[in-house]
């Protein structure tokens, strides 16, 4: 049972036109050629481009395929083809079983009507029959936790409430294929947990396609990953970590933001790894130490400084910090030059690219003197592929007596 292929995508391509007028005109031509049943191979016309180009993959029941890529990489177009909203220009998509697509929640709601009435509207739109809705009505209400507001017009609902109601209805689906396109970004934490639980429940029984920009979700749920760029598949495999890394490396983030209040500037910075060899692009292993040596130029006489280094990952999330105040360190000012070396010990980061941000504060005046982003970057080489940000050292022993 678990080996059945439910989704089969064979060299699927789709083209779009950049210009509206041309797009409309080509649409007209497509309608005509569709009506007369032309079987001519579709080539690019005028300013068209391939939004999706020769994509192939398969998803079996019980598998989860993550789909990532920057905005406009062709993810949504691919999903629309999987969902049968638009047809491919070449290739074919085979979908076996009932498809549940959570691309938009609460489709078909009318703002004037009450939540109760709209349950029927939305459920009908996503493919329930009257009998099914009647049977599931109570569980929808219970899941949504809308309670007393059920008979209020939906236009007075908060956006979170609308999504709750929408998801509560969609969650009643029992699909063989589930497609989710970043709908879980809204709603409060409690509801998010509820959604994830419901999805986990469905996960075992379905072939699942999941589009998200939240890499933590991708790495916890997905068994396979496809990275798309400009309509093409750049990575297709089951090592989620490698795919995500490849995706992050697409974003160049070397621009520096500098906020400084007085005549202070960063003159130089260098990084060293365990082997004590300076490199432009430093690579270390998880668990290695990192030495940062930086030189600041500032007014003579200012001595009582505090330094802080922040380590950011490519998602621009602050993962860890080191602070000189923790060990009550002050640097000496030699003719307007302050040179500091700091060893960050045992960086148990998972593999990836990291950036350093530097803060300098005057401990006397409590003023931030310098705040500079992306002062340096380093790689952590891949060891074990993990979903979390840290792979902590651990001791394992046999506790069987």
């Amino acid at each position: 049972m678990n080996e059945e292929v439910l989704i089969k995508v064979e060299s699927v391509s789709k083209k779009f036109s950049k210009d509206l007028k041309k797009s409309l005109y080509f649409g007209l031509l497509d309608v005509f050629s569709g009506v007369i049943g032309s079987t001519k191979k579709r080539e690019l016309r005028g300013d068209e481009f391939w939004a999706v180009k020769e994509v192939c993959f398969e998803v079996k029941r019980g598998e989860c395929l993550g789909l990532i890529g920057h905005n406009g990489a062709g993810k949504s177009t691919l999903l629309k083809m999987l969902n049968g909203l638009i047809l491919p220009d070449a290739g074919s998509v085979t979908m076996k079983g009932k498809v549940g697509a959570l691309i938009e929640l609460g489709a078909g709601f009318n703002p004037i009507l009450t939540g109760r009435e709209n349950i029927y509207n939305n459920a009908a739109v996503i493919g329930f029959t009257k009998k099914e809705i009647d049977a599931k009505f109570d569980s929808i209400i219970e899941f949504s936790e809308i309670g007393e507001f059920l008979d209020m017009p939906v236009q007075n609902y908060s956006s979170g409430m609308k999504v709750r109601l929408g998801f509560a209805i969609a969650a009643q689906m029992e699909p063989d294929i589930l497609i989710i396109d970043e709908v879980l970004a809204v709603g409060d934490l409690g509801f998010k947990i509820k959604c994830m639980n419901r999805i986990q429940e469905l996960l075992k029984k379905t072939a699942f396609i999941f589009v998200s920009h939240a890499m933590t979700q991708i790495s916890t749920i997905c068994t396979n990953l496809i990275l798309m760029d400009h309509g093409k598949v750049e990575y297709n495999g089951n090592d989620i970590g490698i795919g995500i890394e490849q995706y992050f490396l697409k974003f160049k983030n070397t621009e520096q933001q500098i906020i400084s209040s007085s005549n202070i500037s960063l003159k130089s910075i260098e990084l060293k790894g365990n082997d004590s060899v300076k490199k432009n692009e430093l690579s270390i292993f998880s668990g290695d130490s990192l030495t940062v040596i930086f030189e600041l130029a500032l007014e003579k006489g200012i001595e009582n400084l505090k330094f802080r280094l922040g380590i950011f990952n490519l998602e621009y999330r602050l993962l860890a910090e080191v602070d000189s105040e923790q060990v009550d360190f002050t640097a000496s000012n030699k003719n307007g030059i302050v040179k500091v070396s700091v060893v960050v010990e045992k960086l148990f980061l998972r593999n990836g690219k990291y950036n350093l941000h530097l803060h300098v504060m005057n401990r006397d005046s409590k003023q931030i003197m310098l705040r500079q982003s992306n002062v340096a970057e380093f790689f952590v080489k891949p060891t074990l592929s993990v979903g979390a940000d840290f792979l902590l050292p651990s001791k394992w022993s046999d506790a069987n007596e």
């Binding site: 497509d30 569709g34 009506v35 049943g37 909203l85 638009i86 076996k96 078909g108 009908a124």
Partner: protein
């Protein structure tokens, strides 16, 4: 549960017969959805209104009373009508407004539901059914108006009235089919939606809607050549107990309508995925 396998390929790889079969099953499968959405639209429409269904026949009543006023005051002399002029005008304008609604029905139905078309996979035939249900709902209100007025004028009811409903339905089907046929083009180019009311207005004056065809002259030949003349006269005659003229023409018309409606269904089926691509959500 039936385990459905769906294969999506480029549109050109289907035969007309398959498309037609799919279209029919699309109508069948999506009937509940269409009914639900029609209920939604009608409820929402009347919930935020005080006068409610009055607005279904107010425009017709307004334009009819203008013509009745013009005729009563002698501003405009129209050819003599076989039935009382006010009744003639009200039936004419009502039918004409129904025709106009039929023509624009599927275009406005698709336009109003763009947001779900671009997001959800459902049988798009539901939108046609949805429009048709709303149309029938309005039609019933308007027919009630006509029947009320006929009672006021004490019109005798003859057997020919049984032809009224089939003839009305077939003419509505004809205009709906033209509308469905035009829908993909109207979604792509908004010009079509703009030009339809203008054409309908011009056609109204070339058809015996607010006045009967003159006995002689240029206008008589134009009206005679205009197929809508025979349809609207046929409808009015069956309703008011006069015999149907040009029965043979109406039969041919019915046959052509059925064939054309099948063509329109195929065009709609083919074009929906294509225009979905070019729609904004």
């Amino acid at each position: 549960m039936i385990f459905q396998t769906k294969i999506y390929k480029s549109a050109s790889s289907y035969s007309a017969f398959t498309l037609l079969k799919e279209s029919f099953s699309g109508y069948r499968e999506s009937f509940y959805l269409a009914r639900q959405l029609a209920k939604r639209d009608i409820r929402a429409q009347y919930r935020q209104s005080i006068l409610g269904i009055f607005w279904a026949f107010a425009p017709v009543l307004m334009s009819a009373s203008v013509w009745i006023f013009l005729n009563l005051t002698g501003t405009i002399q129209v050819s003599k009508t076989p039935i009382p002029y006010p009744l003639f005008v009200v039936i004419g304008t009502t039918l004409w407004s129904v025709f106009g609604e039929c023509l624009l029905m599927s275009i406005s139905s698709v336009n109003a539901n763009k947001s779900i078309i671009t997001k959800i996979n459902f049988q798009k035939e539901a939108l046609v059914t949805l429009g048709a249900i709303k149309l029938l709902f309005n039609l019933l209100i308007k027919l009630a108006l006509i029947i009320g007025l006929m009672l006021v004028y004490n019109m005798p009811v003859s057997l020919s009235v049984i032809w009224f409903i089939p003839l009305l339905l077939i003419s509505m089907l004809a205009l709906i089919s033209v509308g469905i046929f035009l829908t993909p083009f109207a979604i792509l180019y908004h010009d079509i939606t703009r030009v339809i009311p203008i054409i309908m207005q011009i056609l109204m004056y070339l058809t015996p809607v607010v006045y009967a065809a003159p006995k002689s002259g240029f206008m008589k030949s134009i009206m005679y050549l205009n197929p809508l003349t025979h349809i609207i006269n046929g409808l009015r005659n069956t309703l008011t107990g006069y015999p149907v003229e040009h029965g043979f023409f109406l039969l041919i018309f019915a046959l052509c309508t059925i064939l054309f409606s099948l063509l329109a269904m195929i065009v709609y089926r083919i074009s929906m995925p294509i225009i979905t691509e070019r729609m904004s959500a």
